[in-house]
């Protein structure tokens, strides 16, 4: 078999969203989002409507993949934290549990020190949630809506 799937359920999603929303508040952030290492957006909060989170998600994952590749060449552990300082916007990128990436975008209303502090707490919380999610996914017997997919369903994908 190929890759195991990543799955997100309502319960864990709500918990993750809660962590994201709290981090926005506690860190005075503009936008917070969580991406998996393949660049797929998992959750976003703050002023997320005004930024292109899909594009940012894929670039963040590319960035982490590239620095991860450099780390490997240097026989170094993955660089877990990155910070980019702009004129108005700053971006803090944190690898959480080597699984997902937590991104905080903030401006002069916040500070790197505060963001770092709050990200640490949020990372712990997220780690616990993803830990639980992973266990849940590995449990057998969760019934899937996709087992029933028909050829017709597949053909219909393009009929619009």
């Amino acid at each position: 078999m190929g890759n195991p799937q990543m799955v997100m359920y309502e319960e864990e999603f709500n918990q993750i969203q809660h962590v994201v929303d709290r981090l926005v508040k506690d860190a005075n952030a503009r936008v917070v989002f969580i991406v998996d290492k393949n660049g797929q957006l998992i959750a976003a909060g703050g002023d997320a409507e005004n930024v292109d989170t899909t594009s940012l998600a894929s670039l963040t994952a590319g960035n982490i993949a590239a620095t991860g590749g450099m780390a490997k060449l240097l026989k170094e552990n993955e660089f877990a934290t990155q910070f980019h300082e702009g004129e108005k916007a700053n971006i803090h990128i944190q690898l959480v549990g080597n699984r997902v990436i937590l991104v905080v975008i903030f401006d002069a209303k916040s500070s790197l020190g505060l963001v770092r502090l709050r990200v640490r707490k949020a990372s712990d919380d997220l780690n616990a949630i993803f830990e639980k999610l992973l266990k849940k996914v590995q449990e057998p017997g969760a019934d899937s809506p996709f087992a029933e997919i028909t050829d017709e369903d597949i053909d219909n994908l393009f009929n619009d």
């Binding site: 078999m1 190929g2 890759n3 195991p4 799937q5 990543m6 799955v7 997100m8 359920y9 309502e10 999603f13 709500n14 998996d36 290492k37 393949n38 660049g39 797929q40 998992i42 292109d52 899909t54 594009s55 894929s58 670039l59 590319g62 993949a65 590239a66 991860g68 590749g69 899937s144 809506p145 996709f146 087992a147 029933e148 997919i149 369903d153 597949i154 219909n156 994908l157 393009f158 009929n159 619009d160």
Partner: protein, 198 residues
């Protein structure tokens, strides 16, 4: 690795366009981007050199129809085809749900196609993926409009021993581009079904 989000009722999949330098990977994505309806596509990102060669990747998020009440979202990526960007190619293959191999039909590029196919297999293995173990895989014979192209029979023999779906294309005009995409999307959904019924 597809990502099934029960909360948002979405399935996310990653498709990687692979192939030798200048074979037309980026052109495939550009055509899809031009023709897809505004509500189905996101922004296309191209990390390219000043001469328009792919430097790291192109990325295009695309929504297709619904399946069993789930929106399907495809994340299309291209790799940089130039030989010396191999480290980047490896990174981009990570987590792929499917691969489209774009071959350059020109006779002069035959060797480059074969090398790129070998390189693909090698890099997939390093990512624990395997074409022989059911990874959705489609081949496109591109640049059919040019003179001095290798025949499709010959290309088939050399590049497609497993007889996966294959399409002739002229990516520059769009011929075969959506056929290729459809065919890979179908394989992904079929694979999704298979995984659920084990």
């Amino acid at each position: 690795m597809s990502f099934v989000n029960y909360m948002a009722r979405e399935i996310n999949c990653k498709v990687v366009y692979y192939g030798p330098g200048l074979c037309g990977k980026t052109t495939n994505l550009q055509y899809i981007y031009e023709r897809a309806s505004p509500e189905s596509k996101g922004k296309m990102i191209s990390l390219a050199t000043e001469t328009d060669r792919t430097l790291f990747f192109d990325f295009l998020p695309l929504s297709l129809g619904e399946i069993r009440g789930f929106k399907t979202r495809f994340h299309l990526y291209t790799v940089p085809g130039q030989v010396f960007y191999d480290a980047s190619r490896k990174l981009i293959l990570k987590g792929a749900d499917a691969v489209v191999f774009v071959a350059d039909s020109q006779e002069a590029r035959l060797e480059a196609n074969l090398e790129s196919m070998d390189n693909l297999k090698q890099n997939l293995l390093e990512n624990n993926l395997d074409l022989d173990k059911g990874l959705p895989f489609v081949i496109q014979y591109n640049k059919r409009d040019l003179p001095d192209v290798t025949s499709v029979e010959e290309l088939h023999k050399l590049l497609n021993p497993n007889d996966v779906p294959e399409h002739e294309a002229v990516a520059r005009t769009g011929l075969g581009v959506f056929d290729t995409l459809k065919s890979v999307a179908k394989l992904i959904v079929a694979e999704l079904k298979k995984q659920q019924t084990v």
